[in-house]
Amino acid sequence: MSQSTRGQRRPIPSSAFAALLYGIMFAIYLLYSPSAITLAGITDLLNNTIVLAIAAAGLTLVILTAELDLSSVGVIAVTNVIVATVSTKVPGGAFITLILVCLIGLLVGLINGWLVAFLGLQSLAATLGTMIACQGVALLILEAPGGEVAAFIMNRLTDTVFGFMPVAGLILLLAVAGWLLFRRTRLGIAIYAVGTDALAARLSGLNVKATKWLAFGLAGMAYGLAGYMLGAQTGTGDPRISNSFLLYVFAAVAIGGTPLGGGRGGVIGSVVGAGILTVMQKLLFAVGVAEFYTNIFNGVIMIVAILFGNLSAILSLRQKAIMSQHRDGQLVPN
């Protein structure tokens, strides 16, 4: 959601458009596959979405500061194999492993942040390096897919609570609630400020380096959590990194309305973006798209989703298009 600035009229948040698109896609999916609306169907869909959603939420924090982070899949690989090797060996494994993966994710994130904010490395390249190194660590911990995730994680976290609420959905709601609180904190506001105009932020007294450092750290923690949830979904560990997943994480953020140039957007959009990418696959299957057409439609739908989201920029006609920092050749209205 965009931050309102000095009483200016708040534009329609781009995540609203993403949510609308999601609604349309889900409706079509439902039309062709009536079981989508059952509790089992919704639970499955949320289970399929949650890893991507949490990873995209983490990435959003970094992108808001106008940096990039490729290390998400690396952290997910490491934490996933740790969950598969540790959670059954330790009493109270589920909880302890959760703490462990959050700490590991935080650590990797802080290293990334240190490289980028304090050493001044370019984030794209530095996080590419950490991603490759993390994959190495994952391969050292677990040579081939296997291991075993504690039954509690595997069964309870993919199930429902209170009889009607999928646990995955509950976790997403908590994440969204956490975000809504976070973005009003000093750090949350600082992240937006730094992403909008780092120089101005520094001149107005914000510690830009520390902000970026913490943003990377929190993102890393989110990736750790995503790896944990991946363990819940698959019940095992896998040291390999899926390059296509990495690209989906970025696509989820972009489709959700957070421009890769920073300063605008938010976690809610990214979560919806992750939902769009997941339901898109269900939709294509239900409609009957098969074989290589899936690839073609995947590409086309991603572009359509972005165009749809661009409507929010076009519709905010009252905004003066001040050209501030630009990125990727795209105009970022202030």
Partner: protein, 347 residues
């Protein structure tokens, strides 16, 4: 007076920061190889260097296009797919005959450039972020190619291409000669032509470029088109080298093109970077992968070392900026240097 001095220093090649970066990266590659030679005397023979250089041609060519696009502040994620498509097309169209090359070659090059132009159109006119546009475009065309070929490997590549990659001129393998030519041609095109300089300008400040009336959309489309063309050429060369083509042959090259460009000193936000730097980055990565192979470790350790060395290379690069800024601070008129330092180190 001081400004003119500094400006002339900056415009002379020897003091250009990016050239220094590129030279340092090349030096880094050489140092790595020397270190390996100490550990393993059989390493580093002339044949091995020749092999390293020959196999780096694909990255050198493909990374040129990526570098051009990154100069604009964009990125091209369709390079791997376009390389594969080019390889598949040339193999399928020539089917082992040299005569077919006369028309198959232009058809392949034009088709792949068209894919690049499509990327450019999406970025320039539809304002789709380059990340998504090139990713989506690449995915879609992969689907098209999959549908047409079902992924089967294609027929034999025209012998002429195969010979090109394995022949020698005066004892030097042809690909190495080609690399030299490409380096010169690419550098000239990027840094010495007006179009090239305009791309630098657009990448540095979109606002200023707009005010100056530069043809932003046209150059954007052209840059992505050139990226598609370079990927196509790299794909042709790869097909000639391996005498065959498959739809996944370009995949291992996408991440390395990005790494090569950035290690070579280019700025991901655009506006800065020499092709010489990208070239150095490509050679560096090629040498790095050879060394990692020679170390004979498990894949896990290979990845850790590769990631670590990339980060170290980046750190050394920034240290060089600091050195240069200290050096230049001694010179009069240092304030005009502020625009030169990379944005990341400013804050």
């Amino acid at each position: 007076m001081n400004d003119i001095l500094t400006r002339s220093l900056l415009s002379s090649r020897t003091f250009k920061p990016e050239t220094l970066t590129a030279l340092l990266v090349l030096l880094g590659a050489v140092l790595m190889m020397l270190a390996m030679k100490v550990l393993n005397p059989g390493f580093g023979s002339v044949q091995q260097i020749a092999a390293i250089l020959t196999t780096s041609i694909f990255l050198v060519v493909a990374a040129y296009g990526q570098g051009l696009v990154i100069l604009l502040g964009g990125i091209d994620l369709s390079i791997g797919v376009v390389m594969s498509i080019a390889g598949m097309m040339i193999a399928g169209l020539t089917n082992g005959s040299n005569e077919a090359l006369t028309w198959a070659l232009p058809v392949t090059l034009i088709s792949c450039t068209a894919i690049g132009l499509l990327n450019g159109l999406g970025v320039a006119f539809l304002k789709i972020p380059p990340f998504i546009m090139t990713l989506a475009n690449g995915t879609a065309f992969f689907g098209v190619a999959l549908g047409i070929t079902a992924g089967s490997s294609q027929r034999t590549v025209a012998p002429a291409l195969q010979v090109l990659m394995s022949a020698q001129i005066g004892g030097i393998p042809v690909p190495i000669v080609l690399i030299g030519w490409f380096l010169v041609a690419g550098s000239v095109l990027q840094s010495r032509t007006t179009e090239g300089r305009k791309i630098y300008a657009i990448g540095s400040s979109l606002a200023a470029a707009r005010v100056a009336g530069l043809p932003i959309e046209a150059l954007t489309i052209a840059a992505y088109g050139v990226s598609g063309l370079c990927a196509a050429i790299a794909g042709l060369l790869l097909a000639g080298y391996s005498s065959s083509a498959t739809l996944d042959m370009g995949d291992p090259f996408l991440m390395p093109t990005i790494a090569a460009v950035v290690i070579g000193g280019a700025c991901v936000t655009g506006g800065r970077g020499l092709y010489f730097g990208t070239f150095a980055g490509a050679i560096f990565l090629s040498a790095l992968s050879t060394i990692i192979t020679v170390l004979s470790l498990s894949q896990g350790w290979r990845n850790i070392i590769q990631g670590g060395i990339i980060i170290i290379a980046l750190i050394l690069q920034t240290k060089q900026w600091y050195l240069l800024s200290i050096v230049n601070r001694q010179l009069p008129g240092k304030q005009s240097l502020d625009g030169v330092l990379p944005q990341n180190s400013e804050v």
